[in-house]
Amino acid sequence: MSDEKKDLSIRGINKRFGEVRAVDDVSLEVPAGEFFTLLGPSGCGKTTLLRIIAGLEMPDSGKILLGSEDITTFPATRRQVNTVFQSYALFPHLTVYENVAFGLRSRKFPAKEIDQRVSRRLEILGLEEMGQRRPDQLSGGQKQRVALARALVNEPDVLLLDEPMSALDAKLRAQVQVELRRLQQKLGGTFILVTHDQDEALIVSDRIAVMRDGRVMQAGTPEEVYDLPETQFVAEFLGAANLLSGHIKEGGIETDIGFLKLEKMPAWSKGTVAIRPEWIRIRDQQPETNGIQARIREVIYRGTDFDLWLDPGPIRVRTNTYKRFKTGDKIWLELAPEELVVLNG
């Protein structure tokens, strides 16, 4: 990317569409070279925020800084920011080569340099043979790579990716996610990805911002947001979570399924315990601490592991044990105190 490393700073961005607050006072700092993901359900404002960064939408208030430069009022054509669109938006009347060269030709680069840069990008993305094809002669995965090449050839300070995998089938998507991560590490630029797919966010990102109703609910590394969710929404949106509400007592929390000892006491008196299905351990005998006896209501086979839906509940446990479970079996569960997260409310 460009020689000078430019951090992206989003400060108090607001955007309304009529009555809807699409983006509600969002502030984020994205250091140069980071793979940052905006994660959230549809309508959470993540795409609007991306379009504001791209300059395709103007914010009602707030500032966007790229490096030391305030780019808030710059139109898309003046920003060193390029986008991979959800539909890829390849120009259908141009060849792959011409599509990739588009940005450089707009800026009137010398023909020789255009040729060098385009050829290099096509090579990096494995498209050398495709140069003379037109977009309608490409597969979905190839189109996506052309869209990537077309944006990356401009060496943007920030590359924006608007749900770039949504048109790919599950198997290809998994492969492309890993490739995208490697590409970003190889080129070392700032990538900002918008997605509603939590697995994708966890796989590719350095940091994730979970959004809801135009606000950032929580931002942090994948480990932080997955292991230490701050809200029920984040706990449930990122993977599955068992949520048990209860009252805080001396040394633990009193929930519907019994008293659970806690390692870290929360500051609030009423809370919800969030625990991931794969963190709950299954025991044959009553464990020393936080043992819960449960009866298996349903067993769901998932290939690599099982999901057990339990009474009292509904508690969900994920296990990869070889032990076969049957509906109606009684088992002991251990909820390790150090793995319990108590959310406020």
Binding site: A76, V81, T83, F85, S106, R107
Partner: protein, 301 residues
């Protein structure tokens, strides 16, 4: 040939399909044969005939009519007829260009309206179709009359002497032509504009394209199908138009259409009229051929 096959759920043979296809085709083919092919052939035949003393066709083979069209008359060569032909091409060309230039903003304006009002605006574009062409030409008489603001403004600016109308004039011919043909460009173009993929426009902006480049690379290619239809629907009839130049241009501004009309009407020289018609047809087809070659790879409709 007689192998059984399933055609849209029906068990049949090739021969039966062929027979049925011909049956369905024949009424339309017959219609075209009677009302297009035969008159066309007759026109070609007439264009090589001579003119009798009373304006009737004299059936002897001659190139005389085409020679006259090319300018070789009794008094030596003149460019009069060729000028008229060239002027027709020019007027049709300008009419088409102006209609296209006016249609783009109009289409974007309509496409930008809400779903409800959009059809109201389209109806406004279509309404002139409901009025007879001659009446519309006369309507321009009223608008361009000396007592009305348009002519007064022109007089004030010194373009025309005070108290005179803006017709008959070249300007009035163009005005009438464009107003006649604007909907022919607007309607097909609108159908393309309505379906524009705006992501391409945004992609072009994202890739640093100037406004002109955005239009040329992201908007024009997407609207080309509608534009092509509009251009053909305008250019072809505009070449043969005679009502508008006759009424709004007076005798001063003769086009091929008027020339042909004159031969079949007052001059009573059907043979020469036929020759001009054939000339116009060849010219039109040649223009379309050039146009198709220019816009290669574009699917019409």
């Amino acid at each position: 040939m007689d192998k059984l096959l399933v055609w849209y759920g029906e068990l049949t043979t090739n021969r039966r399909l062929l027979k049925r296809g011909l049956m369905f085709l024949s009424p339309g083919m017959l219609w075209l044969l009677i009302f297009l092919v035969l008159p066309g052939l007759m026109l070609i035949a007439a264009s090589f005939a001579g003119r009798g003393a009373y304006g009737e066709l004299e059936w002897h083979f001659t190139f005389e009519n085409y020679k006259r069209l090319a300018g070789f008359g009794i008094f030596g060569w003149t460019a009069d007829y060729l000028m008229i032909v060239w002027r027709s091409v020019w007027v049709a060309f300008i009419t088409t260009i102006v209609s296209v230039v006016l249609s783009y903003p109009l289409c974007f304006f309509i496409a930008g309206r809400s779903e409800r009002t959009r059809y109201l605006w389209l109806t406004l574009v279509i309404i002139p179709f409901w009025t007879n062409m001659v009446i519309r030409a006369y309507a321009w008489f009223l608008i361009l009359a000396p007592e009305l603001p348009v002519a007064k403004l022109a007089a004030f600016l010194g373009i025309v002497p005070p108290g005179s109308a803006l017709y008959p004039s070249v300007f009035a011919v163009y005005l009438g032509m464009v107003s006649m043909f604007l909907p022919f460009v607007t309607l097909p173009l609108y159908s393309s504009v309505e379906r524009i993929d705006w992501a391409l426009v945004e992609a072009a902006q994202d890739l640093y394209a100037s406004k002109v480049r955005v239009f040329m690379q992201a908007i024009l290619p997407q609207t080309l199908p509608g534009l092509s239809v509009g251009v053909i629907l305008t250019f072809v009839p505009a070449m043969g138009m005679f009502v508008v130049p006759d009424l709004l241009g007076g005798a001063k501004y003769m086009l091929v259409g008027n020339l042909i009309q004159q031969q079949f009407g007052s001059s009573r020289d059907w043979a020469f009229g036929a020759a001009i018609s054939i000339g116009l047809m060849i010219l039109t087809m040649f223009s379309l051929y050039l146009y198709r070659r220019k816009s290669k790879g574009v699917n019409l409709v």
